[in-house]
Symmetry: C2
Subunit: 361 residues, 2 copies
């Protein structure tokens, strides 16, 4: 247990939920489900059932320091890794790995997003524990795949190899990002494709070898800091090198290339809360008789159905004659958008930045 | 000129523009047209071209005292009549009349709403001056009728008698509130019906006689105060009697009953800004290429047309896939409503009061 570590990635900007989620308060810090705990807090609570509290690390953008400390007061500041720039997953995972390796050469590291939802906690805990066991016994990089229950086009998929190397454990064969509807249906029907949770397990040893092989430049940048990690000079070192890192994802640069990638398949009621529609599909409890979903705020609805409404605390929306819309507001921005067009929200964010002003982001 | 007085009625709650206009800041205090002057200020500016500044009075609800003083700093506090309760037009017109009569027995009084728009100012000034002249020479109650240019169902109509007693001056024959579309078309085609502007001119003598004849109880209440008007005891007297006044309109209780009611007909580009659609019809200047009207705030529009958007200063609305909606926000309320359903806004206000709470009004 003491060799098990977890890194929760909480640096995302959450622009697909803009303006409800914003760069100043991204979705992982919001209580989307009205449970009283933010997505990050729920993730942390779950993680602590598998990993010792002092071995849980949060990787986030520097600007969210106060939010993390406020939401997770049990954390020591040394358990938070501050990314001084937005550089996708490869640099922050490398940073966390070298820092943890400097503490414990035998570390096993579990990397997890901060904004997923898990419904079946016992199955989840069991899956992660088996994953830790497997990576401690095998020189491999392990991903977690979820058995799909629909032809979802918003997720990434992992194809598994034919041979079950251990119970629910397979070699990974291919990775596919967000397939179109036809392809997603083929994936679903084949039984060979699993949703990519972006949760990974590996030993510090295995992932450091992978970095050295597939991203040697990045590996050298971070291994150069071995004398600084977990000292007062760590942040200054990171600040110095981070800007120069290329924007790269761990999936693309390592997992799709390495030969020792495995998948542990599971079904623990997992959802990536990546879009309003995924939240809508999930949350029957928050819907009224006309299938309007109220995430936050108050509403009076007339001749309106199938809408998603997310408002600041205490705000009232009186809505008449609307069907299948996302209606969301935060601070100085109101967004009204047809639900089937929600993938354009990122474009709206960009247009706002260019045409209106950064103060609206 | 010194005998000419004007009373601007500015006590309305503006619920048809809720929440953009609210009980705390009704429409007459808002700059609906982006001119830099509120509807009340524009009315005051126009009125001062016909009546001496010191003879202009504002009748408003007590709670709007600060708003009136702030928007019309040239006014002495004695020129503002504070209604301690909402009681429609008859009580506040009676109050103003007795107060002005106590200053000048020969007063001619012009009563006007505070929230109309006038485009042709020269014709307007000429009409009012001719009206003052007519009422000073004839014992009558004079209304101002506008030649209709469309079969508007949101206005009241006055039918004129056949004989033109003076240029553009007729006896009033009937009054009709908000006809249905068929009737409005018949009115328009007949050429006998004029829009009721709710502007009235009369001598203090003529209107006091009408009050005594048709509303004797109200007349006695206010005439009892003749020793208090324009003294430090005026407000206390009004506060004492006002609550007991019945909610009555001058139109229904006097103008539809009296035998000496006349109409001066005019065409000075008049609009009652009574509804979002009347504002929309009027304001070509504020529309974008897709006929979206932006009253205030900022917008980014996608696949959206024929909408009316009114937001707080500095607020951005990103709107996709909306047609023919009113989208308006103020403080703690957002309203989205199909334009053709805007006559239900008063119902929404009432539902909000009952089902959500008064703090949202």
């Amino acid at each position: 247990m003491k060799d098990n570590f977890c890194v929760i990635l909480a640096g995302g900007a959450g622009s697909r939920f803009w303006p409800y989620s914003s760069t100043s308060e991204p979705k992982q810090f919001l209580d989307f489900l009205g449970t009283g705990r933010s997505l990050l807090q729920m993730t942390y609570d779950r993680v602590c059932k598998v990993v010792d509290k002092e071995n849980v690390y949060i990787s986030t953008n520097k600007k969210y320091k106060d939010l993390v400390l406020e939401q997770l007061p049990a954390l020591a500041e040394s358990q938070i890794l501050f990314e001084p720039a937005v550089r996708n997953t490869a640099p922050c995972i490398a940073y966390a790995m070298y820092k943890i390796k400097a503490i414990n050469e035998n570390a096993r590291i579990w990397v997890t997003p901060s904004d997923n939802l898990v419904v079946k906690e016992a199955e989840y805990i069991d899956t992660i524990n088996r994953g830790f066991q497997f990576v401690s016994e095998n020189d491999c990089l392990l991903t977690v795949g979820i058995k799909p229950n629909r032809a979802e086009t918003a997720y990434g998929y992992i194809q598994i190899g034919e041979t079950e190397v251990d119970q629910n454990l397979f070699k990974a064969k291919t990775f596919t990002e967000k397939p179109n509807a036809d392809l997603a249906q083929i994936f679903l029907d084949s039984g060979e494709f699993y949703w990519n949770t972006s949760m990974f397990l590996w030993t510090a040893q295995a992932i450091s070898e992978a970095f050295e092989q597939y991203m040697p430049e990045l590996a050298h940048k971070f291994s150069d800091g071995k004398d600084f990690y977990n000292t007062s000079e760590e942040q200054a070192f990171i600040d110095k090198i981070y800007q120069s890192c290329t924007n790269n994802s761990i999936d693309y640069q390592i997992l799709e290339k390495a030969q020792n990638v495995y998948v542990i398949t599971a079904d623990f009621g997992w959802t990536d809360l990546g879009t309003w529609n995924s939240l809508y599909t999930l949350s029957d409890a928050c819907k009224d008789g006309d299938n309007n979903m109220l995430v936050s705020g108050k509403t009076l609805m007339y001749e309106s159905k199938n809408n998603i409404v997310a408002l600041p605390e205490g705000k009232l929306a009186v809505i008449q004659g609307m069907e299948n819309f996302v209606i969301t507001e935060n601070k100085n921005v109101l967004l009204i958008c047809r639900r089937e067009e929600e993938n354009r929200i990122r474009q709206f964010v960009n247009d706002t930045k260019v045409q209106v002003g950064k103060e609206y982001l």
